[in-house]
Symmetry: C2
Subunit: 374 residues, 2 copies
DNA sequence: CTGAAAGCGCTTACAG
DNA sequence: CTGAAAGCGCTTACAG
């Protein structure tokens, strides 16, 4: 009969009931050290009778391991982060780890507080999409405290951590190349291009070294711009700065305005590339206001970190980040490092998938030419 | 100068450096008991110099409080649960709590393991959407171990817990009433109606006591059927069992088949009510296959626990659960109980919102009549 | 207001 | 293979 008392039985009580020392009871219950089969049976019986439940706090205090991963995301409500968390959670469960999740709201101070809390809770490792560009002191502290960190989506330079990102440059390059091949020569790009770069777009376009390793530290939307530029240069098309729209803030309202301006300009683009889901939403609002059909009047290719399914449902080609895999890969890297601290740091690059409706290839779906804007 | 050593300083080292006892250092750092201003200053300086970071494991072990909430959801990737988690996370942060999140995949065994893990980690309380109908032993154990539980979305009967749910019956009743008022007399309903009821639909319809308090323990889709029934009875319409479709599984594929059958039956309904987002997806696939317009040929009202925005974007009226508020309310209830264990248990019922595009009212948007099915 | 001592529930050397 | 003792990093009575 399992005892359902209010306070949980301890190893000492189990030991007393089994007639052994607490060290021995600990060995069989904690599954370490040696113990004879007879003793094991007695202890387990006593534990079951008392409804013994191990206290992981005490174990963590003594072993220095809590079997807990701390995660910092921008906003758990965003489909991208939710999916990443799913991937993390699956791998963590298999490894017997718990996951503490915190939202940073992409806010520096909240991120710092979150990391602090997680370190105080003695997490074994941290998986973070950091909002910091220059001052990642809190992450340095974590590393210094021997708490391994895995970065994903965005990478802060100069930290000794593993990382997982999507190959933004190459997947954008090949997708834009397909648009060009389909007959588009004037392709607009709408991207946040917010943080992480001091340059204005013009000097970025003029000066960026496409072969530099620093590209990995650019924020995703800048990397996507890079892929856009590479595709144009490969095709011998000089990119028109008028077609490159920096929305600067992560807001569909701002994107809508920029898109309206882009679509009604003289010599308007025949196709649009949006660097993320919020930008896409802005474009859809703009085309709806202008009564333009998509696809048809305008071809749209959407790099989506939000809910790409809704775009695909509308016949729009979307580049879907493997968000679930990002999380799983991050957690795998972390668990690997927890198992063996001496591994060299790993920078894992995942390929995004191009997703289309009815399996129509990108270059088929895209059409050159569009009707006049009213 | 902050020391960045690999192992963290303890209260004992801070005390030594400050020239006080560890008890005193603990008092000022832990913000409890008395200490003179001079001592406080010395201790704080020493702590800063050593880069002291409190170990919450040790504190938790001794106080019995970890400042951690455990949450069990079906799937963090679902927009409904993600939003609930956002609400929980916000309230938890304000209260200085961390949140450990686990996915049950609506699987009994995984849910049991998750709760077990959370209890071993000594969470202060649990917020759970349980998949269990009859055997919530794991939740009983939690309550017995003085770990307060808050249930949401679905409620298991017979547990001494707080709970937060949406008022499924009344919001469905009034929405269906609006459909009836708009001229629909044959309204189809597509609902999972899976777990939690032994009855078949016919005997449920015949026997259910609408005024019974047990209604709160029905699963959401059964409650929504109840609202559907109430609206019909209030309007003096005898519900046609042919129009009530039990999909039984939570699958859009199954919903699509059922919807196809419903829409092509003799005397087909002029309007459809779908009890959740997966059912809605199935209906949209079916109407698309039949080349029916929505709204127009068919009026659709969707009770959505998934991403209602995409339905609204298509001009469909949706009933949106206040998922964010569900989470916040759940966390608030929990924190309240943690502060004062003797409160009576609370069953909080939130009203869902009816969301429409362009503020068109439900009864305007719904139109009677539909074209023939090919 | 401060300190010495005990203890939270475990695990870890170290003897036997 | 088992037990007595020490200790993880804190907090809590209890004296002073």
């Amino acid at each position: 009969m399992i005892q359902r008392s209010s306070k949980n039985a301890t190893i000492i009580e189990v030991a007393r009931r089994a007639g052994v020392s607490s060290a021995t009871a600990g060995r069989v219950l904690g599954d370490y050290g040696y113990s004879s089969p007879e003793v094991q049976e007695k202890v387990r019986a006593a534990a079951a009778a008392l409804g013994y439940r191990p206290n992981r706090l005490a174990k963590g205090l003594i072993t220095g391991k809590t079997q807990t991963i701390g995660v910092v995301v921008g906003d758990i409500e965003s489909p991208f982060y939710a999916s990443v968390l799913r991937g993390i959670g699956d791998v963590a469960r298999r490894g017997g780890f718990g996951v503490i999740v915190t939202n940073s709201d992409e806010n520096a101070e909240l991120e710092r507080e979150a990391v602090q809390l997680l370190l105080e809770k003695q997490v074994d490792g941290l998986i973070v999409s950091s909002t910091f560009a220059d001052q990642p002191d809190h992450l340095r502290e974590a590393v210094a405290a021997r708490c391994p960190v895995v970065q994903f989506d965005r990478i802060v330079a100069g930290l000794e951590t593993d990382s997982v990102v999507v190959d933004n440059v190459s997947v954008t390059r090949s997708s834009i190349a397909a648009m060009i091949e389909a007959g588009h020569s004037r392709i607009g790009i709408l991207a946040e291009l917010g943080p992480g770069q001091r340059d204005d777009v013009g000097s970025f376009v003029a000066n960026v070294d496409l072969s530099s390793a620093d590209v990995r530290y650019h924020h995703p939307s800048w990397q996507r711009l890079l892929g856009y530029l590479e595709a144009h240069r490969a095709a011998g098309i000089e990119p028109d700065l008028q077609l490159i729209r920096r929305v600067a803030v992560y807001s569909s309202e701002a994107a809508r305005k920029e898109a309206l301006d882009l679509l009604t300009m003289r010599n308007a683009p025949s196709a649009l590339f949006t660097a993320d889901g919020v930008m896409s939403t802005g474009v859809l609002e703009a085309t709806s206001a202008l009564k333009l059909a998509i696809p048809g009047d305008v071809s749209l290719l959407c790099f989506d970190d939000l809910d790409w399914m809704q775009f695909v449902a509308q016949g729009i080609t979307a580049i879907a980040q493997p968000a679930h895999l990002i999380g799983a890969a991050g957690a795998e890297l972390l668990l690997k490092r927890l198992a063996e601290a001496t591994l060299p740091f790993e920078h894992r690059v995942l390929a995004a998938r191009v997703v289309e409706r009815n399996s129509i290839a990108v270059h088929v779906q895209l059409q050159a030419g569009r009707s006049e804007v009213p």
